[in-house]
Symmetry: C2
Subunit: 225 residues, 2 copies
């Protein structure tokens, strides 16, 4: 599989930023070679590398196609801003499983702070890896009300919920995974009121297994993978 | 959750082996204390620690119950003897997802050798962790014919297969995951003839994502979790 780069259109050219320029050098691509670029918004470009500078690379567009479009039937994943290694794994799996919108929420028991650039970088790398030309949209929220968007049916993963297998996931769907330590009392009663509780079965699964399995299950049902 | 230990019945007592005795010491349990033990065959024992020796621990049985029994509707996972870290992860997830029989197969492109003790240790630790009193049975095979047991319907994960979502997993089911580099030609034609090919969708998922998701999906359908 050829390398896919991330770049932005500027004055009729494609510009790769500093990170992508480093990546270009690592894979030993030189001026004059043809590369494949995406803007992460659904466009696929075939480009010739014109000039590799220190902090950016300028490319000439040879071809340009819109290869992916926003789906009307969205899959939204709300995941906790917990420990970095777990968050990173969840972000990667969500990209791979075709999630359209990624909401990283600071639950009461997952209060870590990450820059949006750090989160975007993981999402970008994972998207390139599995050749998603339309990267998932990323949001970072602190207030629980913000995670609820209009016209979306939300489900919260909780051992007390109905089996995920019995649910017909029609239309746009949001799947909420709580933090490792669980929801706090207020959060839980808010979610109980505003969303439907779903579970994967009687057994307690590890946090990341449950989350990946639930998102994967819905992604499969909604043909996101 | 209290610690669960693995032990074997011997002359009316429970004996913990060297590894479990080390574990006992790590969690600072002393003679006279009560512990919970399983034989991995479905039994749960409440025991008093009588004597902690260098290489083993002798316990007196207070209570004894059969808390899990072999299911008639089995879930079998055939997984490749590939790189240790991946194999380890897959073994752990299979235990967590309620797999009944674990077959570690040496495919042409996954020829690593592991001792059955090394594999058992992972399965034992994962089982204790998620409180499975009946550990999955482990088999290690080299010849593809050996993976096929009687009265079991086998499915092979392959991008050319029908969507897993359309399949009714009745009775005992085996899920075959190939090695990272894919099946070799002969293996593939053997599996095409003897098993049903299933897939998770159009997108190519990473090896471990696909495998965990497929096994998890079937485990969910068969109420193993």
């Amino acid at each position: 599989m050829p390398n896919l780069f991330f770049g932005r259109e500027r004055k009729g050219k494609i510009v790769l930023d500093e990170d992508e320029t480093k990546h270009l050098k690592v894979v030993r691509i030189e001026e004059g070679e043809t590369i494949e670029v995406t803007d992460g918004k659904g466009m696929r470009y075939a480009c010739v590398v014109e000039e590799i500078r220190k902090g950016e690379t300028i490319c000439k567009i040879l071809e340009k196609d819109e290869v992916e479009r926003e789906s009307e039937d969205k899959l939204i994943a709300v995941i906790p801003a917990g420990r970095w290694e777990r968050l990173r794994l969840l972000l990667e799996k969500c990209v791979e499983l075709g999630v359209d919108v990624l909401i990283v929420h600071r639950f009461k028991r997952s209060q870590r702070s990450y820059s949006s650039k750090k989160i975007f970088n993981i999402v970008k790398e994972a998207s390139k890896q599995c050749r998603r030309f339309l990267f998932p949209r990323i949001e970072m929220t602190e207030n629980l009300v913000e995670i609820l968007k209009e016209n979306i049916k939300y489900y919260t993963l909780d051992p007390s919920g109905d089996s995920i297998d019995k649910i017909d996931f029609k239309g746009s769907v949001g799947i909420i995974t709580g933090p490792e330590g669980g929801f706090d009392k207020e959060e839980r009663s808010f979610l109980r009121e505003k969303t439907t509780f779903i579970s994967l079965g009687r057994k307690i699964l590890r946090f990341e297994t449950a989350s990946i399995l639930a998102i994967g299950f819905v992604a499969l049902k909604k043909r996101k993978i």
